[in-house]
Structures are given as structure tokens and as C-alpha cells.
């Protein structure tokens, strides 16, 4: 049985259909939450924000123009909300990397590598990227967004999407090298 498309759900939501809203929420809330929590690094804030995101979807459904996928539209709203929340926090800059990229402050890279497997270290370094790099890595690798869709969500040219992703990966390689993993790239 074919499930109702997101576009149809949005049409129903614009009609005030709460059931359609529940279906859309059930379908997307986890991914939107994860996208936001990766940006703001705080679950409680992320929960507040996704409530705002879906309320915005409820309000704006009648204006959805279908130029992009519904999930792309929602991630763009989520991003806007997350960045607004980050701006209210003076201690968090969008371009700052986490100091806790590799948490074993006392250990040198070799010791850290011995203690943790490679997968764990890669995930720690992914978490340690700046928010700007985290968001593009997540949009591409986790949310399966194309170059065009990332450009629409982030509001940058497609060429910039490609170079930003390249530099995010390059930065990841540098963090991994500092953690004792030499990947031979770039």
C-alpha cells in the first residue's frame, strides 16, 4: 500500500487536518530533532525548537509551494530556528569547533587510539566539527540531501555547498590526525 506523500499531508494540514499533522510529525520528528540537536548540542533546547518548527509547518502549510521536498523545507525551518537559538547564546559561535572533539585531554593521540577504536574516534571528531561543518556533513550523509537541496536549506550556492563539504571533510581528517588516525587524505 502506498503511503500518503508528504505533499498531500501538507495540503491536508493547510486544511486544518490535525491527523495529517500527526502523521507528518510521526514521520519526521526524529530526524528533525537530530538535525537540531547536532546544531545546538542541547536536547532540551532541541525539543523546544522542534515544537516551534512543527508549529511553523502548521502555520505555513498553506504557503508551501512545492519547489522543494517537504523534508527539505522543514530542515530549512529547523536550521533557521536553531541558528536563532545559537545567536541568543553568546558562548556558542556557529563556526567554533567543540573543545571536546577528542575528550581524553590527558592522553596523547597514540594512547587515545589504543583506548578507543577507530569508529569511536571518527564519531568523536565528527561531533567536534564546527556547527557549520556539522550541518553540512549531516545533511549530506545522514539526511541524504543532494547538492541542490543542501543549497536550498543552507541558503548558499551549489558550488559553495561542494567546497564547504570538501573543507568539512578536510577538517575532519585533521582532527583525526591529531587523534592519531592518519588517513592519507587529503
Amino acid at each position: 500500500m502506498q503511503s500518503t506523500s508528504d505533499e498531500v499531508l501538507i495540503g491536508r494540514i493547510a486544511n486544518g487536518d490535525r491527523l495529517a499533522m500527526q502523521v507528518l510529525y510521526a514521520r519526521h520528528h526524529v530526524r528533525v530533532f537530530r538535525f537540531v540537536v547536532r546544531l545546538v548540542r542541547d536536547e532540551s533546547t532541541a525539543e523546544d525548537l522542534i515544537s516551534e518548527v512543527f508549529l511553523e509547518v502548521w502555520r505555513q502549510a498553506g504557503r508551501f509551494e512545492g519547489r522543494s521536498a517537504v523534508s527539505t523545507w522543514m530542515l530549512a525551518i529547523a536550521r533557521f530556528k536553531a541558528l536563532s537559538a545559537l545567536r541568543r547564546r553568546p558562548d556558542e559561535e556557529f563556526n567554533d569547533e567543540s573543545a571536546a572533539a577528542v575528550e581524553d585531554d590527558a592522553d596523547d593521540p597514540e594512547t587515545a587510539l589504543e583506548k578507543k577504536d577507530k569508529s569511536t574516534l571518527i564519531r568523536e571528531c565528527l561531533a567536534g566539527l564546527s556547527a557549520q561543518h556539522r550541518e553540512i556533513v549531516d545533511l549530506v550523509y545522514y539526511h541524504d540531501k543532494s547538492v541542490e537541496e543542501v543549497a536550498a536549506i543552507v541558503g548558499i550556492p551549489e558550488s559553495t555547498v561542494k567546497t564547504r563539504m570538501f573543507y568539512a571533510r578536510k577538517r575532519l581528517a585533521e582532527l583525526l590526525k591529531a587523534a592519531g588516525i592518519e588517513r592519507g587524505w587529503p
Binding site: E7, N15, E43, I122, G184, W185
Partner: protein
Amino acid sequence: MNVVSKEERLEIEELLPWHATGTLSRRDAERVSQALAGDSELARSYELVREELAETIHLNETLGAPSARVMEKLFAAIDAEEARAPRRRHALDLTRRISDFLSQFTPRTLAWSAAVGAFAILAQAAIIAGVMLREDGSPAGPKLANATSHGSFAVVRFVPQATADEITKFLGAYKATLVEGPLKSSAGLYRLRLAESQLPPTEADRIIRQMQEKESRIVGFIAPASE
């Protein structure tokens, strides 16, 4: 063996993450596949991309999900909005129905651009049909029934290839208006008002036959309907 030039390698290198997730266009995907087959350095780089992809998914999947509190909060906010401004929603309901109707006939992008032009005409039809809000601001349900109960009617299903523009022209040429749909009893069927006055059955049949025969590029099915 490395057969890809330095410039091309950099270009391909930038596309590898999207190649790994399968979100490249067919043309770019083929280009990347060919480059990977002929360049061991790129192939090695692609393995790193796949590693990053796997770990990013793993990382995100361990982030958990929001609590049930979020949904409760959301629907409480929605209830509060509806209690505050129910009228806006009913007005929106009409525009949405028209947009939904239009979007069924064309590829999505074409539908949305065509909908802009067609909207004004269909909105006018909707006003004629009396589905706008009453002056006192109460919902328009009963008025819709009154407004559509006089005249001569047909049920129609448009062919999927018909564009919004063609349908709009078709409606204009016959001075017909769409008053209801899609009908619950059958997906894709719409109620069409042929005339605001009650036509003799032979005249209504003639118009319907003409629509069926001459407008087959737009009309897939049409039959007389009672008031």
C-alpha cells in the same frame, strides 16, 4: 592506475559524498563511477567517504528521539492557535483545495507555476459558488450547499496530462465552474456546474457530449449529475 587529471580529480573528489549517498544526477553519477574505475587514488578516497558516511549515520542514530512532551506541547499550541483564529483556517481551506486540485494535473513544478495564473480565475469561480466566508465570519459549510444546489451539473475527471492552464481555458470556454471535489466517493472526480440555471436535459446532454468529444485531451470522463 591514475588516469584522471588533477583538475578533474578535485572536481570528482567534491562529488564523492553525494555519490556515496546516491543523490547525484545520473550524468554525474556515471562520471564519478568512470573516474573511480580508472583512478586508484580516487577509489581510496571514496573508501574514506564511505567510512565517514557510516560513522555519521551511526552518530546520528545514537542521538535518540524527542520526548512525548514535544508532541503534547505542539498540539496544545495548535489548539490555542485554532481557538484564537479559526476564520483564517477556513479561508485557507478554500485556497488549498484549489491548489490541490490544480497540482494533480501537471508535473509538480509546472503545476505550481501554472497554479498562480489559474488561481485568480478559479478563485472567482469559488466566489461565484459562494464558498467564501459569510459576512458574519461563521464557517461557510451550509452556504456551500446552497450555492451549489441551483443550476445544471456534471461530474468530471480530467486526464492526468491536462495542465492547469488548459483546464482553466476549458472552464472559461464553456463558462463552467468547479464547485466541489475531489468527491469522496471517487478519487479524481469533480463536480462541475455547466450553467447557473436549470438547463433542459437535452441541452445539458449536448454540452456534456461536446465536452467529451471535443475536449478529450483535457476531459477523461464526464457524466450528468443531479443537483
